[in-house]
Amino acid sequence: MYAGVMTAPPLALVNARLIDPQAGTAVPGGVLVQDGVIAACGTDVTAAGLSEATRLVDCRGDVVAPGLIDIGAFVGEPGAEYRETIATATAAAAAGGVTSILARPDTSPPVDDPAVVDFLLRRARDTGRVRILPCAALTKGLRGEEVAEIGLLLQAGAVAFSEGGRTLRNARVLRRAMLYARDFDALTIHATQDPDLAADGVMNEGELASRLGLPGIPREAEVIALERDMRIVALTGARYHAACVTTAESLKIIARAKEEGLQVTCSTSINHLTLNENDIGDYRTFLKLSPPLRSEDDRLALCEGVATGLVDCIHSDHVPQDVEVKRLPFAEAGAGAIGLETMLSASLRLVTAAHVALPTLLRAMTSRPAEILRLPQGRLAVGAPADLIRFDPDEPYVVDPAALRSRCRNTPFDEARLEGRVKLTLVAGAVAFEAG
């Protein structure tokens, strides 16, 4: 969809509240988009002096910011088209203000072959509304045994490497893979949940799990795996991104690693920032996530981490699940929640609750993931790709699951009151979504 933009007429977003996440500023002004890139932006971009051909959008004081870069979502293709397709995932993303999606490699077949990367990029070009960035498998077949063809996968267009939701059991394999990845300066993204400690656990271990009679996953499953990974980062010197940290203790580990100068960054999911284990209530399977929702103390620590920048990124952790795997007893139900379409408005709860300022919040979903993935977008700068969104952060609405664009309806924000709806999404200067 963003292919033929070179011929699109210029477009100006004026009378906006411009948020520059890199600078951390919010100023009134406008953005001029031409040939798919930002041609001008700032207070001097107004309705005056624009050429006849320019499409003018009066933003009426709404926020204009870079489109979100989601550093972790499952888009269904190839192999799980009944759960999601690139068409439906990117429609949801565009409506939610997400303009780039890092697509998880744990598909069927997995993204461990340059041909699959190529397939994803072509499917995205032909059916997607926003950018799809393939994250390739770190090991062949995601089996955790042999290193994948990192060089060839990079050449094909992969931007990072991971094992999807899995954590490598074998530290020797992880060491080799990261050592090899370092030679290509490739980024390793790794889930950190010790599979043996997590075992058959289905929610955070503690009083609530005990009361519900559900097997728990201790925080230490994450802490131990993360601590081990930090040693391997130090050993290999590779670039490493913790896929989804969920505990207060994990943040201490990340802080120490950063102090030591290791090339370590981390994400947490929008769910872990806005929900806690109590939301599971009466066995609500839409709240069954992996890693599991933690306590309110952990959630608050994560919010604080976003405010200080210790938590680099917020991702949607978009995992569409068919209703059949959610309409089961909690322990048997599938894990995961959709999130592309609601990530922005859910994240604004952190602003409403005064945990974090809006530019800082957006930074974790725009310029920071762009820096980590080494992408040109995610910035409000002349010459940057015109991936932009317009939204009113105060506009209230109630989430109607039936109206969501994802192929699945497993949203934890079912009927929730949120604020901040996207009105316009541009990808490379072309309209990917416009509210009717």
Partner: protein
Amino acid sequence: MADLQLRSRHHLGIEGLTLLEVNALLDKAEEAVAVSRQVEKKRATLRGRTQINLFFENSTRTQSSFEIAGKRLGADVMNMSVATSSVKKGETLIDTAITLNAMRPDIIVVRHAQAGAVHLLARKVDCSVVNAGDGAHEHPTQALLDALTIRRNRGHVEGLTVAICGDVLHSRVARSNILLLSLLGARVRVVAPSTLLPSGIERMGVEVHRGMHSGLRDADVVMCLRLQRERMHGGFVPSTREYFQFFGLDEAKLSLAKPDALVMHPGPMNRGVEIGSAVADGAQSLIREQVEMGVAVRMAVLEALAQHLPNA
């Protein structure tokens, strides 16, 4: 029988019951004990009603107890054995619920291996649902029958020290009893090796003991829990003989409790694992009385729910 109104249409757990409701249920169960001891045991409270016992886990004793309770109240009782049903062929719990619901039963009694499964089913049907045990979550009628047994032997539950011993981690009986006995004012202890204690158990208002010596001291009631066979060998405890040595209730350990302490077990027992035969069959054992009280308590629950049924 005395008039009794429960607030809920279902009986899913001890959680959510008030002290008033619990005492009323126990009083009603006392009346049911008297009924069951007569020659003519049949009542007409549930006449014309259909009760389905839907057991996804085998349990001869609980299922027959519910069957007898329903029949004594005049209900038509049907037992659905899941081993021979379409559930084994991949039909989901919810599809099963919807199918059964279409047959217009009045009460469904459910046992399921997963915590929360009975709640899930209850949301999908129009009739009343009774939880006959869901995973490691709750087994409310077991707790009620235990409380009734204690009350009949001591006259009250309040102020008594009750030691619940054994596999608390996997036990729905323990959870329901902790909730119920605490509600009734007992001091509840759990006594188990740390590997068989759930995380955060102390925040459920119980005293935690890792050994029988401190756990049983001056206890009024000693309640043993069944240790599942698959958990005996190395997973949670090293062996049955080691377990019996330290946690099996024998006469020596029982002597630490009050001299007339009551001995209880939800059954079925593993003799020589969590309880020795001399204690199980001894003078302090109430294990057979518990079974009798089971029928009475289930009659009380079914009858209380009958008041919520349409046209009741």
